[in-house]
Amino acid sequence: MKFLFKTDYEDDIKLFPHAGYMWTYGTLLVLLAVAPFVLSSYLISQLVFVAIYAIVGVALLILTGFTGQASLGHAAFLAIGAYTAAYLQKYGVPFPVYFLTAGLLTGLIGAMVGFPALRLQGIYLVIATISFAFIVEEILARWESVTHGNEGLRVKTIEMLGTTIPRDSPTFYYLCVGVLLLIILGAINLMRSPTGRAFVAIRDSETAAKSMGINVSLYKVKSFAISAAITGLAGCLYAHKLSFISPEMFTLALSIEFIMVILIGGAFSLHGAVLGAIFVVMIDPFLTFLKDDIPGAVANFSMLLGAGAAKAAEIEKSVAAVASANGLKGAIYGFIIMAFILFEPLGLYGRWLKIKLFFQLFPLYKRATFKRQKIYMKSERNR
């Protein structure tokens, strides 16, 4: 087990607590850099989606994980970013400009959503953000002069510095990963400075935050704005990746996927956003793979058990019918979310920390280390 011996206040705010982290993250960076030369173009395309989902994950973590304001409206912020980018691109605005404008405009709208949200808490805030998402969806479908309504908008490839960056090129992959890394760095910086601490303070006790001189309303609005702005940037990349956007892509289901990102990844650390994004993006191809292969596997297995060929074919057919049933995917998603909430509320990153601690302490790991305690001390709160 490694003990950090701190000799300077600098040690508390360093990006990497000790040299080991630099090696780990350095290796990861190298792996990300060589990925396009090693992996298939399909996997690189999936990695681009992982990066985009992780950006939204970071945004949601800042709002939900750190400030404690739940949101089911992030698909709408993503849509605003995507449509802003697509609209400005039509008028020949260069990529860096409309990329940043998408972020800024979405941030402004996020702040505007933040204001009415000041008076709402918990489940009511969730309902408010859902209704915001529906409003945006409706506007996108009706405001045809700008959004082309349900026909959707075609997004051209990025043109920058005289070259184009096609959506399946390694350059686009580097762009997305680069944006993700910068946003993670910004989020880490934010969380180790006064604003980040104010966010966490609001999450844990608004009353105490107020009495420490934190303007709770201002910081909630700030949190909404930052979160929305980051999602807007992701929206711009998302639009380019899909090359075609229409209102039905930004539905409640997408917002739920984003919530899944942080729930499954672990809603207490930025690592969670990335781990959760990998899980959520990869689960879809994985389920498709299962859907295609499971009926055959079950049929073979029943043959092994002694069923006749006709019987096996029948079994294969019925299993395939179940596997391709409508809504099965949604049900599986639901089960995954429930399983994580029940059995691993700290998400994948929490599980990783536990495994790490187990090996660090090896024979001495106590099972109760991460046990949640029930404490009855907050009986009298003036919210």
């Binding site: 705010i13 180790r192 400075s193 709160r381």
Partner: protein
């Protein structure tokens, strides 16, 4: 004029008069205790001063400035810090970050500077960290710096909350039952710290307390309340032997 004044302060919840035209003044550098049976309106007065409640009538003055209509976060900026009866710490954060939140009123960096973590932010962070370290040393919290609050025992949390209030570098500190839930030894420590806060840090103290031995050990003056009204005010011994106060505690 007095350092802090409450004039005709009232707080009514419908027909219930939690605080009923209470007036008192605190002089700079004194320790004033408010005592009274449960439900006498002591904590309500604290919530009025820290502006979590709006007074029905009455005015509050701090350093001759009317603070009756200031929002709660401005109260802390003026230099009034408080602790809570039922500990309100940031449970999922470490002791260190709890204390750093206490430094919030001294933070000047803008959002962009923070996102880029400019040298000025880094310098400020170190300065805040240094101030926090002084408070940690003052209250002997060294063993707990990096511990998360939810894993700490009650007695330590109580001290951490006091530390967080001290990190704001207050001029006036409001302590809501600083000794509740503490054992005899911890209460003795608390009484030393309260005296030291006054003599070493020059902080004026207003506290609500039930433990009479602590009250008489540390207070310069005592106010006794019952049913939202002031029963007696004066030296600790005087107030404790006042017939109305005895009647309020023991019944007539």
């Amino acid at each position: 004029m007095s350092y802090f004044r409450a004039e005709n302060l009232s707080l009514h919840f419908g027909g219930l008069k939690a605080v009923d035209s209470v007036s008192f003044a605190i002089e700079k550098g004194e320790i004033l205790s408010i005592i009274g049976p449960n439900g006498a309106g002591k904590s309500s007065i604290f919530n009025l001063i820290s502006r979590l409640y709006n007074p029905t009538t009455g005015k509050l003055y701090f350093e001759d400035r009317d603070i009756t209509d200031d929002p709660p976060y401005d109260i802390a900026k003026l230099g009034i810090a408080r602790t809570f009866q039922n500990i309100e710490l940031f449970e999922n954060a470490s002791v260190l970050s709890n204390l750093l939140v206490g430094r919030h009123r001294h933070c000047t960096s803008s959002l962009w500077q923070e996102i880029l973590f400019m040298p000025s932010v880094r310098r400020d962070e170190k300065m805040h960290r240094h101030k926090v370290e002084q408070v940690i040393e003052f209250l002997d919290l060294e063993p707990y710096r990096d511990r998360v609050i939810s894993g700490l025992p009650y007695g330590v949390r109580k001290v951490v909350e006091l530390a967080r209030a001290l990190c704001t570098e207050p001029k006036l500190i409001l302590l809501d039952e600083p000794s509740s839930g503490l054992n005899v030894e911890e209460t003795t420590d608390m009484s030393f710290w309260i005296r030291d806060m006054k003599s070493e840090l020059g902080i004026t103290v207003l506290m609500v307390e039930h433990d009479m031995s602590l009250v008489s050990r540390v207070s310069d003056r005592v106010i006794a309340l019952n049913y939202g009204k002031v029963l007696a005010m004066g030296q600790p011994a005087e107030v404790q032997s006042h017939p109305d106060v005895v009647a309020a505690y023991l019944g007539t």
